[in-house]
Symmetry: C2
Subunit: 512 residues, 2 copies
Amino acid sequence: MSTDIDLSDYQTRRASLIDEDRSLRREFISSRLRSAKEIEADKIVRKIRALEAETIWQQDYPSIPHPFPGMEFLTGKSIIMRTKIFEILSKMPKGALLHAHLDATVNAEFLLELALKQPGIHLRVNKPFVASPLSENLPEFRILPETQFSNLLSLADVSYTPGSWISLQNARKSFPTHLGGQDGFDSWVVGSMTINPAEATFLTSTGLIRVEPIFSEYIREFFRSSIRDGISYIEARINFLFKNMYGADGQENIPHREWLVMFDRIMNETKAEMEAQGRPDDFIGARIIYSTIRFITSEELEWYLEDCIALKKEFPHLIAGFDLVGHEDSLHPLIYYIKPLLRFRERQREEGVDIPFIFHAGETLGDGTQADINLYDAILLGTKRIGHGYSLIKHPKLMETCRLMGIAVEVCPISGCGQRLTSSMPMHPLPVLLNTGVPVALCSDDPAVFGNMGLTFDYYQVLVASEITGLSTLGALARDSIEFSTLGEEEKKRALAGFERRWETFVGDIVE
Amino acid sequence: MSTDIDLSDYQTRRASLIDEDRSLRREFISSRLRSAKEIEADKIVRKIRALEAETIWQQDYPSIPHPFPGMEFLTGKSIIMRTKIFEILSKMPKGALLHAHLDATVNAEFLLELALKQPGIHLRVNKPFVASPLSENLPEFRILPETQFSNLLSLADVSYTPGSWISLQNARKSFPTHLGGQDGFDSWVVGSMTINPAEATFLTSTGLIRVEPIFSEYIREFFRSSIRDGISYIEARINFLFKNMYGADGQENIPHREWLVMFDRIMNETKAEMEAQGRPDDFIGARIIYSTIRFITSEELEWYLEDCIALKKEFPHLIAGFDLVGHEDSLHPLIYYIKPLLRFRERQREEGVDIPFIFHAGETLGDGTQADINLYDAILLGTKRIGHGYSLIKHPKLMETCRLMGIAVEVCPISGCGQRLTSSMPMHPLPVLLNTGVPVALCSDDPAVFGNMGLTFDYYQVLVASEITGLSTLGALARDSIEFSTLGEEEKKRALAGFERRWETFVGDIVE
């Protein structure tokens, strides 16, 4: 009898401890009540998840030893795509995409198609073509002025010397039959722009993208494919370097303002397209986080900050913020740029503009290293959000600051795995952020490189790697991606209202 | 000018934010002032660590691709042993060892030597000996009564049938020359009791250890080797199952109290040995955490709890606490045993004894899984410490409870890697615990299996994987291992005083 009383008392204390421990999770602190339909949909999704963990994830796949939900993405992707959960999530409204590098947002096949329309696009290889294994001989791309068009006909020609440019169209047409002909060419080029599980290393497709006529169509496809995945608003990081954009004439002379003009035009065309389809909620718009790279000097940064201010003044609706990108462990830390960064705030006051910092910081496994320490500087400099923030969980004071000040972390689950910060989702710090109530927006980072196009794959990985996380958690994450965007209050309201309409339909469809 | 002022203001705020963020670290909250010598020794160690990261850890090792400090232990061990840091740490006083499973604490070579002295020890294999690759044909051990001694002479004999016992001595003497003769036999047996990087799976040497004459000498070697490594006090987990110990006569009939009598005798002999050497500080003593395994039923647990109480009454100085061990993800969770565990507290009151729970909990990558949820039950049941607590960092409320209530986490850095919870130290949750001020004791868990004998390797891995952690951090961890032991106040004082004397010498030696 006494044990029975103890037991019920124990169970009460236990339930309340668990609740208290999870009380900071943002799906629980929302003032919004979950609808009966959402609660039911959440249960259904949990059931399917449990079932698929025992079935699809337990089968034998010859090339995938020991598969499990949340496993390293590149290896597990083919299994993910067979699941019902993936099918469901692909229809989920995702809110905003707040962290993606424009140059890695459109799939490589599409980019190649765009490039093949431009007769000026050339490629070269830097090792003897015939002697080298194809996969180790990477192509380099550039658009050339008409006067420099190459008359070379084939990479495989004995007369081809490494380093010589050949037109993309010719190289493709003449690609040797024993290497697969034109299909072989396509796989080779596409493969050079993506990574596979064995070699998690980056390759740049910048030579194809930063060409005026390609750039605008590339952006259009980025918007369209995002919309297909349920993303309704985008803040894209674009790297601005002094030149870095070619015209159709092969001259590297397209000024930064022209990039924004293109971006604006395509955004407006895409909005009009969606309105014409009666789907205005499905695309609110897009903005740019002006980014430059941490290899520039502190003096050079001053020029970019002024460039950013000038662009903000001309396109106030397009510039969302400023960031410094690039590998944090090896490039300059934020503190190196501290003088111009502090000065930037004064300059903004002088010019009457507001450009929040939205810094990459803590994208590292280090503890007390310069990349880890970037987190202190990002926060002291007033960053609006933190890109990656992988090492944030090591910092109790900074975690508290993020929670209390509403600094969201742009968590990129799949990119984190691809970059070897973690080898699978169960090792990812995301659950710590969620349980501690730090706002999080799930992001795709470099989807064209890792193959996680859209946000469905990222939401999938997060959902299947936790027993706590459910459909309501994903909904809260999607709402927070809008909440912690740089949209103004009115725009946010409209975006959230649109999201709620779509969410209602989404959970309704699951229940039916 | 204004930027200069801003800058110095910024630097001040930055330093104070970093300080505040790290202010919970236990090396900073100690009332004990660091001596000038310790500060100097800390600096020296940091210098050597930085130098070795650039030299020894950057060299090419044919069998070790991309080595780095803190890498997966089994692969990196041979590099660790070449370093000056390892040499220094091997001389460091380590305080207490609070988490080690007795059956995996003595190196396999030594155990084999002990076993070879017992003519009754037999072995068998369960696959045809000649046909199977040696490494896949694992030996099983048992002591047999004299009436059942085997007259088989060789495993390699054509007449040997799998499953037949053969005496250990004979099997060794007759081991085929083409398999390396007696040396080949020794490597085979030792290999079967340890793991290598390729196959992180456990094997039991229990059949050799749980034999009365071996058991006591095994314990003696455990104590001696721990003392050689600078460990001065031990709380060892011993698995108690109903029978589970053989006499020299081959009968499985040695009662639990005899195990404690042996433990007590060897402990006293070891203390006397150290006193005779004029080193009484070097071995304070040892206790037992009575453990049984999570595969028993809830009803069976009642018997073990009563057995534990009876042993505590007879040997109050030996029983330190109670634990349930075994793989948390697959065996029974704590909540399954809740009735007898709650009843245990009443029974202790009735019997006038105090046996704290010292539970394994959260040794998992899961989020909200039963192993993760064990943490709530461990804490609600009043656990004195938490074994592993790998998933604790996901629980803000429990982290706070551990910090405020002084519940230490027994962190086993190398075992965590060996068991694939993490693939290297930079992914380990330890820095989160340290920065959040949760008390930690570094432990070796199953050193004979992973090859991390003593605590030097564990301290090494922790030191080289963080820029924040220094010699003073290791000192604080060692002090906490004493502080959070089950020693009484007076014993603790004596142990800490002894530690301080040794620490003073240790840092003095580094400076010289």
